[in-house]
């Protein structure tokens, strides 16, 4: 019986929504704006990222960074290498900081550099590898092919490390005393040839300096070096010789500053050196060994129109509520359904569902139309791997973007219920969505990230298929899509709760 009554209310609210032609036109308008503006933007932008010589791809074809000082010898088939790292840190005679804009903020570093053991397909940058290493801040890691990263024990202090190859399987171990060994994990490296280079390496992730100011960001990279000392270097079996070669794995040289003002990232030549005395190796190296995708997100670029569609959806949501208060139509509504909370819930469910389906269709359409256009304009592999409608990241982006649009529409409906008048309610909702973007474009990094966590604008993060990135102008790109949708969901539920509370205590 109860379910039946709920269904009646849903059917009634759906009939209300579909029977006002202007609202249906607004809904279609939202879809048209979303698709139209996205396609327009896809047609307008170009990139020369793939023409940049400072560009290396990993075994899976995605852009990577690969730089280190590598002391190695060939190994054929299975084998084990062991070493003790006695110290790791920046060299004492650090050069004075150079490069990077003034007043810039240092970005936190990832786990993709340090000192340790590596087996690699030659010394060419971008080739397949597996490594067990100590990172100064992230502790022991087992990594392979620029994508896999398994954590071992934390802390950047001295360690014993061991790497074992068994066919395609590489297993990493760590130990504090060289006697009791703990396995970090096992990775599969299918591209590693039968004969590979094995040895010790040192790398150091370049310092990224970011400055955000009035609508633009400038990013500078400063080369840093790590120096590490190793002893007890032992190669068990399969080694073809006992002589160790020292090589510097480098990225191609950076182009001079590009026209878009971005400084070449990690492009400077790493300066490495190796000294050996009585089995003690002192190695200095720089560079990062890990993913280096451009932060630009072609999925997001193909959804730029969402912000325009959202404006139409705000109007629709507000009108769906405020029209009840024109000429006291709310009285007719509450005479037909005196339980007001249920009316509000039915309105929210009907509007949310209708907008969700419309938004999903328009975001999907925008993506499908914009992707080939973007590829033509340079957003193509390898810098920008092809994204298809069935990729998990794309599916997640489209579903969450539609959820964001539906939530904003329902939020607007709640604001309309609270304010009862269209113009102030529409203005309020638009300001709550747009103003944080404007403010966020002017503020430095940390307050902007904070702002994106607590305002509706954070919901735009749902448009990103790539991981959060602080180096982009768009303020929402620095929070995760889940954080963004959670904030928007909280706003929507909060506004609905307020509206419910007010509906109950107010005379109609």
């Amino acid at each position: 019986m109860n379910t039946l009554q709920e269904f009646r209310l849903l059917l009634a609210e759906w009939t209300k929504l579909r029977s006002v032609r202007r609202w249906m036109i607004t809904l279609l308008g939202a879809a048209a704006l979303t698709v139209g503006l996205s396609v327009l933007a896809a047609n307008g932008g170009t990139t020369d990222m793939n023409d940049n010589p400072n560009f290396v791809v990993g075994p899976d074809g995605t852009p990577v960074a690969d730089g280190m000082q590598f002391v190695h010898q060939p190994i054929t088939g299975d084998g084990t290498i062991t070493v003790r790292i006695t110290s790791l840190g920046e060299p004492p005679n650090v050069r004075p900081p150079s490069g990077g804009p003034e007043g810039a903020q240092k970005l936190p570093k990832g786990p993709w550099a340090g000192a340790g053991l590596i087996i690699k397909d030659g010394t060419r940058s971008g080739s397949s590898y597996a490594a067990v290493l100590v990172n100064p801040t992230h502790g022991v890691r087992l990594q392979s092919d620029f994508t896999t990263d398994l954590a071992g024990s934390p802390g950047g202090g001295p360690r014993w490390l061991r790497l074992t190859r068994t066919g395609e399987q590489i297993t990493g171990y760590e130990s504090t005393d060289g006697a009791a060994w703990r396995q970090v994990g096992t990775v599969t490296v299918p591209h590693l040839p039968q004969t590979a280079q094995i040895g010790v390496f040192v790398s150091a992730e370049p310092e990224l300096l970011l400055q955000r100011s009035a609508g633009s960001t400038s990013l500078g990279a400063r080369e840093v070096r790590n120096v590490a000392t190793f002893d007890n270097l032992q190669l068990s079996t399969g080694g073809t010789g006992t002589s160790w070669h020292s090589d510097t794995v480098t990225m191609p040289r950076a182009e001079p500053e590009g026209p878009d003002g971005e400084v070449g990232k990690g492009g400077n030549q790493p300066m490495g050196s190796t000294k050996e005395a009585d089995g003690v190796y002192t190695i200095t190296g720089s560079g990062k060994i890990g993913p280096q995708e451009p932060p630009d997100d072609i999925v997001q670029i193909s959804l730029i129109g969402v912000i325009a569609g959202l404006m139409a959806l705000i109007a629709l949501g507000v009108l769906f509520a405020t029209s009840e208060y024109r000429r006291d139509m709310i009285r007719t509504t509450f005479m037909a359904a005196p339980r007001r909370g249920r009316v509000l819930a039915a309105k929210a469910i009907v509007l949310g569902t209708v907008v969700y389906l419309t938004a999903l269709a328009s975001a999907g359409t925008a993506f499908v139309i914009a992707q080939p256009m973007l590829r033509e304009h340079g957003f193509a592999p390898p810098a920008f791997p092809k994204q298809s409608l069935t990729d998990p990241a794309v599916v997640r982006t489209l579903l969450l973007t539609a959820a964001f649009m539906a939530a904003v529409a329902v939020f607007s409906m709640a604001v309309g219920t609270l304010m009862r008048r269209s113009a102030p309610a529409i203005t309020t909702a638009v300001v709550l969505v747009i103003l944080p973007i404007i403010i966020g474009s002017l503020l430095p990094l940390t307050p902007t990230r904070w702002l994106m966590h607590i305002t509706l604008a954070g919901g735009f993060a749902t448009q990103r298929a790539k991981a959060p990135d602080a180096t982009l102008v768009e303020p929402w790109s620095m929070v995760s899509p889940w954080a963004g949708i959670a904030t928007v969901g909280a706003y929507t539920l909060g506004a609905l709760a307020l509206a419910w509370w007010q509906l109950r205590r107010r005379d109609a």
Binding site: L4, Q5, R8, L9, L11, A12, E13, T15, K16, S19, V20, R21, R22, W23, S323, R326, R327, D328, M329, R331, T332, F334, M335, A336, A337, P338, R339, D507, A508
Partner: protein
């Protein structure tokens, strides 16, 4: 369910102004009950309280023995027309009735039935924004009849209707009452209820002034007065006033006489040789009765204010 409206000790205050002040009355089935009072007397407020739209500060309003807000399919229990313009102008008449029907689980065919019954079938697919006042009124009545309810409430239903429409709506209310329904209709003009209402609830300043049948009220208001029709008004007035009667002129040829019986008047006029064309007992109009009632009410409430 017994088809009645019961209002019991209802009090409602809006920001310091008392809109309804301890109102108690009952609307019975099979009758048209008129709800009369000057503008601002609290009629619409009372109706909104009955319909669960406004919450009373004190007292209860029950429909069929239950508060409106507890009804699960209220449109099948009570049909109400509060404000005929309360329809989205962009929505077609049929769609307006359709969502109402859906909300109460009323069959879709009822929509077409009431549109036929109310004479709007030809305009069913037109947008309500283009409706004349009379058509809007008809659409509002169609909405009230949608759930075939035993209780009907109309707030000022003849407002904006042309004479044809007024005749139509009076007939409709009579026939609804004849079917055994309780019909509760408000108006600020007593004359609108003449020949329509069986019973009257008269209020002023939120208080009950009279709760009476129309027949009784008219008898009270007539007070055994006599009506004389004559071409010699001045002489007749003088003569009867001298005989101790209170005489009032209704128009150029008609007088009402209070304090003398018909026989006494006939005797006096005959012996004075004054001709008259008609002599009959005076029948008060509802309007007169109402004026008398509200005059008292104004004085009463005036005293009441001072006493507080």
């Amino acid at each position: 369910m017994s088809p009645t409206i019961e209002v019991c000790g209802v009090r409602k205050r809006y920001r310091g102004t008392v809109a309804v002040d301890g109102l108690t009355f009952t609307v019975r089935a099979g009758e048209v009950t008129g709800f009369v009072g000057p503008n601002g007397a609290g009629k619409s407020t009372t109706m909104r309280i009955i319909l669960g739209l406004d919450a009373p500060d004190e007292g209860d309003a029950l429909v069929g023995g239950r508060p409106y807000r507890s009804l699960r399919a209220p449109l099948t229990q009570v049909g109400a027309l509060l404000d005929a313009s309360a329809v989205h102008p962009g929505r077609k008449a049929r769609d307006h009735l359709l969502w109402l029907a859906h909300s109460n689980g009323i069959a879709r065919r009822r929509v077409d039935e009431v549109l036929d019954q109310i004479g709007l079938a030809s305009a069913a697919r037109r947008r309500a924004g283009g409706f004349s006042l009379g058509m809007q009124q008809r659409l509002g009545i169609a909405a009230a009849l949608l759930g075939d309810p035993p209780v009907l409430m109309f707030d000022e239903p003849v407002n904006g209707l042309d004479p044809d429409g007024i005749v139509w709506i009076r007939g409709l209310m009579r026939s609804l009452a004849a079917e055994g329904r309780a019909v509760f209709v408000s108006s600020h003009l007593m004359s609108e209820l003449q020949d329509t209402a069986d019973h009257l609830i008269v209020i002023g300043r939120g208080r009950l002034i009279a709760d009476t049948s129309v027949t009784k009220l008219l008898a009270t208001a007539s007070k055994g007065r006599v009506e004389v029709r004559t071409l010699r008004r001045t002489e007749v007035m003088t003569l009867l006033a001298n005989a101790g009667a209170t005489v009032a002129a209704i128009d150029a040829e008609t007088l009402t006489v209070d304090g003398l019986t018909g026989e006494q008047v006939a005797g006096l006029l005959s012996s004075a040789g004054l001709a008259f064309s008609e002599l009959r007992s005076h029948r008060a109009s509802l309007e007169e009765a109402y004026m008398e009632l509200t005059r008292d009410a104004v004085e009463f409430s005036g005293n009441g204010e001072r006493a507080r």
